[in-house]
Structures are given as C-alpha cells and as structure tokens.
Symmetry: C2
Subunit: 211 residues, 2 copies
C-alpha cells in the first residue's frame, strides 16, 4: 500500500462504506455490485471506485465486491481493526450523552476515562467510566492509555483542555466546543460543530435558487 | 447580490467568520485587518477574501474590515439575521443534551417543539419545550412553525422520521443518526456524524506519514 495524502472527505466516505458493509455483512449479504453499494451509501459508483483506488484494487469485474473482504480491508485502511481508547473532558449534558452513546461501543471506540471539575459529578459512574477530577488528567490519561481526547467543555476552556491533553501525550482530539483549536504538528484535531451545519441549512433555506 | 452555487464548505467558513466577528464585536473591536481575522479564524487571509468575494466587496484597503458592518453582512448572507425555529425528534441522551445546549440560543436558534414515543418522557419540560408524543408531530410542526427538524433517534428510525418531517412541511433537517437520509428535491439535509470524524482521526493516527 502506498501512503499518499488522502483528503479527509475521502476518509469520511471510506468510513461510510465500512459502516454500510458491516450492515450488509450482518444481513448475510456476501457479494454486492458497486452500483448497489453506491446507492446504499448515497454516493456515486465512480466515486467509490476512485476512493478505493487510493489503496489498491478491490472488487471483481462483472461480480462486484466481496462484502466481508472489502469490509476487512476498509477497516484496516481506517485503522478500525482494533479498539481505540477515548478520554472525555467535560461531563455536562453533551458529555454525559456521549458517554452513554451506544454507537461508539459498536464501532470499536471505548471511553476509558472522563474528567470534570465540578465536585458533584466527580466519582459518578456514567456508562463505562467513573468521572475523575480534572487534576488527575495527566496521570490517568497515561495510565489508561487514552489515545483520543473528546472535548465537551465550554468554548472558553476548550483550548486549555486541548493543551493539557496534548501535554499528557494525546495525539487525536475530537472537539465539540464551537471554537477553532490549535495544536502542535503531529496532533490531529477534528471539530464536530453542529451550529455550523445549522448555519449551512439556514443559508440553503434562505437563498432563492439552486443551492 | 448574485446568487451562485456556493460550496457548503465556504458557507461553513462564513459561519466561522460570523462567530468570530460577533466575539470581536462583544469585545468592542471596531476594525480588524484581514490577516488578524484570518488568524483568529484559523483560515488563511486569501481564503477569507475569496469567500467574501462571492457576495460583494467588503473591507477597505489598508484598513481592514469594519467589524459590525461585516458581521451584519455575513449574518444576512447566511440568513442568520432572524430567529430559526427548530423541532427535535428523539429526546434520548443526545436529544436532551441538545435541548439544553446553551449555544443554540445564543445564535438565533430556538427549539419550539420536541417529540418522542416513550410515554415516560412525554409532558416533561426540557429547556424551552415540553416533550410531545410523536403522533402530534404533523399538527405541532405546523402550529409552531418549525422550519428545521433535528433528528436524534436511532439509525433504524431516522429515515421514517425524516419522511414525516418532510410531510409536515419541514425543508431543513439536521441529522444526528449515523445513517444517510434521503429527501426529495428542495429538502436540505445536513449530517452531524461524529463517528465519521473519529474514523478520520484513527486513520490519521494509524498512518505512518504526512496525513
């Protein structure tokens, strides 16, 4: 496999393929045509072929893709062929919902630590984890082997939390706070910002034509 | 203003500009250079100028942008110069967190209705709204003037919910369920799928070089 710079959007699509292939596999589907797979994924067939071509040759002409095989390959490409350990910072409404979120578990993601500064929530068990005080972050992140930090604190605190995560050795951050975070080279930050998505909807609903 | 097809990613950036301009305005900043605005937004200055150029001429050479004026214009472009009424379907962990989410309110989004099928949550007041039974969706969506439907149900139910929202006249959907939803032309769907973002992080953390 060559390692070329793959655009994030192509990676997101691979993740959509993986998810749908897993569903097909659960249903006992063994082979699927690229046209049908594309339809299920809501993506055009040429795009699927192009995305997969970054990583090698998949599928058999005139047959399609072997579901189990392609799923295995795509999961390997994405690094999803193993468990990933997550640490949450900020156990408010959103943070608690994330800790209880069933889909994380199904997809190889496990919360192994959660941190907050509010005394009344410290020690409370939510989902898999017991909430720890923010002072224990550095120690527990190393001890539990947290690989990805999930930030669900207020926007004012988010950068400080990101800095502490990075200082503790975390190299991947999923940020739910509506601010742009800075990280040093080698640290990857993805933002989940649903107010931006709402703004896109408003724009489309407001504008008169062809958006 | 000409209406051209603007890529969603440019709209998201406009929304980032609006958010940061609002913060600057709150701090009493009156004028800002494009270089400084770009820095705050985490975007390069040429990109800002290019994004704004879709909509007209902004800023004064050698001076920069007048914060209040640009904020006003960008909010108008995005359709954020008024309130938007949201209706939530699915008042589980994530849904409840959304109803309580402070940032929605600050940005002109208001939940005016929430629906669930679980008897024990119906009638409960969360944030602004009292949870209504799913059977009342059609009637209440029209009565309350819901413009954007927010879907926080399980993936198996999400398409059915989307269909009902559309049937009730909703043209914008923010979908938190990890599935691709289909809608008729003229209906806009944005997905907030954080497991996809996690997958992107895993890929970046797994791959050896330059991602």
């Amino acid at each position: 496999m060559k390692f070329v710079k793959i655009p994030a959007i192509a990676i997101s699509r691979l993740s959509v393929y993986a998810r749908n292939l897993a569903l097909l596999d659960q249903k006992g589907v063994e082979v699927i045509s690229s046209v049908r797979l594309a339809e299920i994924c809501g993506i055009n067939p040429a795009q699927i072929r192009k995305d997969l071509a970054y990583f090698g040759e998949f599928g058999v002409r005139g047959v399609g893709y072997y579901v189990k095989e392609l799923l295995f390959e795509v999961r390997k490409i994405l690094g999803l062929d193993r468990e990933w350990r997550l640490g949450l910072v900020g156990v408010g409404n959103l943070g608690s919902a994330l800790l209880r979120h069933a889909h994380f578990m199904q997809q190889g993601y496990t919360f192994v630590a959660a941190f907050d500064k509010k005394a009344k929530i410290i020690g409370v068990q939510i989902g898999n984890v017991k909430v720890a005080p923010i002072e224990d972050m550095n120690r527990l992140i190393r001890k539990k082997g947290v690989e990805i930090g999930v930030i669900a604190v207020s926007p004012e605190l988010a950068q400080k939390v990101a800095d502490r995560l990075v200082a503790a050795g975390v190299r991947g951050i999923l940020n739910f706070a509506p601010v742009q975070l800075q990280g040093p080279p080698g640290v990857f930050i993805e933002n989940v910002d649903f107010t931006l998505k709402l703004d896109v909807l408003c724009y489309r609903l407001t504008s008169p034509i062809s958006r």
